[in-house]
Amino acid sequence: MTESYLIRGARVVGGEPADLLLRDGVVAEVGRGLTAAGARVVDADGLVALPGLVDLHTHLREPGREDAETVETGSRAAALGGYTAVCAMANTSPVADTAGVVEQVWRLGREAGLVDVQPIGAVTVGLAGEQLAELGAMATSAARVRIFSDDGNCVADPRLMRRALEYVKAFDGIIAQHAEEPRLTVGAQMHEGEVATRLGLTGWPAVAEEAIIARDVLLAGHVDSRLHVCHVSTAGSVEVLRHAKARGIRVTAEVTPHHLFLTDERAESYDPVFKVNPPLRTAADVAALRQALVDGIIDVVATDHAPHALEDKECEWAYARPGMLGLETALSVLLEVVGERWDLIAERMSRAPARIAGLTEHGRDPAPGVPANLTLVDPAARRTVDPGELASRSRNTPYAGMTLPGRVVATFLRGEPTVLDGKAVK
């Protein structure tokens, strides 16, 4: 028998204040003036209750780079960010391209017990883009993999991409593509444009992303499969997606908080904390991505949380690894970008990603009988991001020193708190 929690006065998805009784892993009751003997009371006056956030795109680095992040530290960062589930990308070492590795990651997630860690399987053996990994074995493993991605690399070979899209239909899988035509990004360091020209850094042209998305939506339409596009970063990609969705192609797309908030001008410091793949784009791209998020052309906000050890960032720009932390700041960035549009936030950060990933226990608004995966947010709080205070093992946040709105006060996973009073419970 686990402890019960009575959350008093939370505004469920921004609605009128209500009490929530969490018992036996589910939301037992929702109402006003609830009482429950023995339940621990959580004062949620002024707080907003959201379905626990779900991240479709997290790099947990374990196995292989435990100096940058582990499943446990990444899970803690996620819980503190309001997440109850994260999908762990496959580009670990060894690569998560077998049932054995995905089960290992899944088990580590269970042991940490802070969020549900849903492994993503590699599409190709070793992410090499040559031969399909054993997708079926990963799907039927204990990890029950549904999303497959070579993220970090693009599945560039069109025939292989077609086969992958077709093959995963047998177990309702989905291919999540890192859209980057590699021949167009040889040596690329940042967005190809005026700033790259000024900085003398090799450009990563928008068309390298857009060309792959265009190809892949046509392939997905041709074989009637599900395609998910990772970290959409350009206005042109939004147009391709708009066209594909209008034609009824089964494509979903995600955008990262940093692509909604930061531009390529950040590179002017040559501080590689702003180096990321795909790169930060222009203000016009940022505006188009925000609009696409509101319109639903982009379905999901996903962090692409990418921890890196200090030595991989404290160096020359060209030698630095691409990627940024995101789990502990995503919700604040969203509040900064779209304001207190709670239903939109719940949809893009919880319900839609849970649907895409097939995580049926997640992404459900708190209501009687629903699994008690939820987070409580203080929208009035503001906080200044201090890299030293992050739970992640790495420090590569691009938001250091920025003051952002919102603070996660508590997170519950199946009725058990993972975060209380803004602090991780374990």
């Binding site: 003398g200 850094l201 040559y270 030698y319």
Partner: protein, 306 residues
């Protein structure tokens, strides 16, 4: 000004002060004893991650003529480049008490990073395909001494602008000093948005012959043969035919116009021997002026520019 990292660090007054100071330094070169005591007891480190004998020697001569102690840290091929990070090297230089670090590095922005880790002045002696500000200063000095002014000149910069740190620094500095710059080359070697990225009013042309009749200065950039393999242009012969400067083309220039090249040249590729060795050519003067300009930069940075 503490560092010289970019042509953009120089406003018109500062740039003019450097050029005027360089003119004074040039008189030292004519003396029997080519030394000034100005930087006695100061340490200048040449930190070179790329082979560039001519640039290193130029800075070394400049520092020595000002009586500075010079330490050459050739990072290429030594233990420094094998594993030691730029930051660790910076901390070493800091511990050595370097007053100035002259850095040549294959990665754009490396001098900017270095400047955040050392107390001394950092001088960018060429960073990847980004900038080479002392080259732009010596080019400006050369133009001024040949043509008497910089404001109002029309300068054509010809060739591989995309990969040229010389071009970027020149566009910035010449813009600041009031010259008009036209960048000329095949479209594949002209970076995107270059017309607005560095200096307003920068023009672009793909037609060298159309630009030459109004040019006061033609600056030919080195073109590397490897670019052919990446399909920037089809062949050396076609490149030379469309964008190389030969005798007949040179004669399309106004009589007073000069021909510059930062070196090292590919004779027969971007420039023919007839042009390189003609009286219009300033190529040898540029080398001489390089020492004077670098003396001025070191003197003003370390002696205190107010």
């Amino acid at each position: 000004m503490r560092h010289l990292l970019s042509g953009a660090d120089l406003d018109a007054d500062t740039a003019t002060l450097i050029l005027d100071t360089a003119a004074e330094m040039a008189t030292v070169a004519g003396r029997e004893v080519k030394k000034l005591p100005a930087l006695r007891g100061r340490t200048v480190v040449n930190l070179f991650y790329e082979d560039s004998t001519r640039t290193r020697i130029s800075f070394e001569a400049a520092a020595k003529r000002l009586s500075a102690d010079v330490i050459n840290f050739s990072a290429k091929g030594s233990s420094v480049s094998k594993g030691e990070s730029l930051k660790d090297t910076a901390l070493t230089l800091q511990a050595m008490g370097a007053d100035a670090v002259v850095v040549r590095h294959p990665a754009a922005g490396a001098p900017h990073r270095l400047a955040t880790w050392v107390d001394g002045s950092v001088i960018n002696a060429g960073d990847g395909t980004h900038e080479h500000p002392t080259q732009a200063l010596l080019d400006a000095y050369t133009m001024r001494s040949r043509l008497g002014r910089i404001a109002g000149l029309h300068v054509a910069v010809v060739g591989d602008v995309l990969h040229s740190r010389v071009a970027r620094s020149n566009v910035l500095l010449l813009g600041t000093l009031g010259a008009k710059v036209t960048l000329v080359g095949p479209p594949t070697l002209i970076p995107v948005d270059i017309g607005t990225a560095l200096a307003p009013g920068t023009e672009v042309s793909y037609d060298l012959d159309a630009v030459l009749p109004t040019a006061d200065v033609v600056m030919m950039l080195r073109v590397q043969w490897e670019r052919m393999a990446d399909s920037y242009f089809p062949s050396a012969r076609e490149y030379a035919r469309r964008y190389g400067l030969d005798g007949p083309r040179m004669r399309r220039l106004p009589d007073h116009a000069i021909v510059m090249h930062p070196g090292p040249m590919n004779r027969g590729m971007e420039i023919t021997p007839e042009v390189a060795d003609s009286p219009r050519s300033t190529i040898v003067e540029q080398v001489t002026n390089g020492v004077s300009v670098r003396m001025a930069v070191l003197y003003l940075l370390l002696g205190g520019m107010t």
